[in-house]
Amino acid sequence: MMQKTLNTLIIIFLALPLAALLYLSAVKFWVYPDLLRAHFSLEFWSGLGGTYSGLTSSFALSLLMATSISLTATGLGFFFSAFLLLVPGRSTWLALSFFPYLIAPVSFGALLQTYFVRFGLSGSTGGVWIAQLLFVVPYANILLSTFWNRHIRQLYQQAITLGARPLQALSGIILPLAKPWLGLSLLQCFLISWYEYGITRLIGIGKVQTLTVGVMHYLNEANPHVAALAAILLVSPVVLLGAISYIVVGKLSLQV
């Protein structure tokens, strides 16, 4: 009984923010103490095709950015994490990879900004892409390092000893075994890029309008309803992706 109450309370706690966003995106003239009897309106939602079509294109840009970053970072991270296995003093090198993720993105962006400006990379989608990659690859590297261990290395060697070429051993043995890790890395890298605000704002100087930049824009315009709409756009694919990965990746997603 007590546990049931506790469960309910926790679920309410977890669900409240999403409920608040949905509500805010569907009302206008929101004066205290309106709650159930408010001016409900789908004006903002229907605006996605017109007035707020900027959000739709931001959504597309974010999606493209996050997907390509996630694929590239996972690929590089997999390569680096495998490579580091061969390097003496592995943990020291790996430690370097912890930093970008430890530091708040705004601060990381502030550190990088001057170099991006110098190399003419600021204010462009490509520049933001590279900056995000510098932030995401180390993370993928750390995550995928948990995959590599003595046993995996032995399995690889076993395949080689049976006559597999390195690429065959990689595709036939290592990749299938790494699938859960790769899936998790793809998901996490996608999320980091998808959520990213600080770096994109600083390196993109506002020219690169990802969805987070859009949310901030409407927050600054003092329009909580459109900001809530943008926030829902920001959350929705992740909820979907989460649901999918829950089914596909299963319990492994809880390991990191």
Binding site: L14, L16, Y195, A228
Partner: protein, 283 residues
């Protein structure tokens, strides 16, 4: 011959790794350090320690550092306690509905979490309106101020929302892995009471296994930016806000000081992450 090409390849990959995972950070750190020492920057006049001296004497800076640490510590302590409790209660029978809900906050970037909690907790927000309609309060004034407040209730709550579910899931997973239920049975047969088991086995075991992740998330919370921007107080403010204020606000003369604080912040994160890290051979 062959081993020579190999070692070149080796060096090449290592350089690429460094170029992506090391150089940007160190380059940025070097730049900030140089800026704070007056070696670079449009208004710099050559090497000086004056900006560091100003920073050291700036009580505002130290308060903001203390505040960041405090908020992170409180948020972390609450999240961990809640997660430990939830994982303990759910160890015996697996609760799939709850697990699924626990994944939901992972879909919230800090910006969105801060935004929604602001509208839930502010005096004119959802909870206040609900309380009004339930007749618990007579109006806005009677609702306690828990956003932009001093103890940072809203700020901490949002952090708990972001961090606690992850640890709850982790602890459940760890429980299953070490077969906590079996351990508890053994302990009972040895005459252990529940509280003794919790104190001597369950909590230390869980925390020790999660230590690295706890450190990382604590540092993540120290670096909180968007949530603090929306729900924090203007004074004391968290470190990242102190830095961004100094780097890009009205007094150009303050910029080197912002860079100095940035250096302090990064060193702090490094020390907190790797202080005594030698134990973690899992790396």
């Amino acid at each position: 011959m062959k081993s020579q090409t190999r070692s070149w390849q080796f060096a090449g990959v290592l350089s690429l790794y460094l170029l992506i995972c090391g150089v940007p950070l160190l380059a940025g750190l070097g730049y900030s350090l140089g800026y704070s020492l007056g070696l670079t920057g449009l208004l710099s006049q050559g090497f000086t320690l004056v900006h560091w001296q100003t920073l050291l004497q700036d009580t505002d800076a130290w308060r903001s550092m203390g505040y960041s640490l405090l908020v992170a510590a409180i948020s972390m302590a609450l999240s961990l306690s809640l997660a430990l409790g939830v994982a303990w209660l759910h160890e015996l029978r697996s609760q799939n509905t709850l697990r699924r809900w626990l994944l939901l906050p992972l879909a919230f970037p800090p910006l969105v979490a801060g935004f929604s909690w602001y509208y839930l907790l502010s005096p004119s927000g959802f909870l206040s309106r609900l309380a009004f309609h339930l007749g618990w309060i007579g109006g806005i004034e009677a609702f306690p101020v828990i956003v932009n407040d001093f103890p940072g209730v809203g700020l901490v709550l949002t952090h708990v929302f972001l961090v606690f579910p992850l640890f709850a899931l982790l602890f459940m997973h760890q429980s299953a892995k070490v077969r906590m239920g079996a351990l508890w049975q053994v302990a009972q047969s040895l005459g252990s009471k529940r509280s003794q088991f919790l104190r001597r086995v369950y909590i230390p075991l869980q925390l020790r296994k999660a230590e690295l992740l706890i450190r990382l998330y604590a540092i993540f919370l120290i670096g909180t930016y968007e949530v603090a921007l929306l729900l924090g107080r203007s004074s004391p403010r968290v470190m990242t806000l102190y830095i961004t204020d100094k780097l890009g606000r009205f007094n150009l003369a303050d910029i080197p000081q912002g860079h100095a604080m940035l250096v302090v912040y990064i060193l702090l994160a490094g020390v907190l992450a790797f202080g005594g890290i030698k134990k973690y051979r899992i790396l």
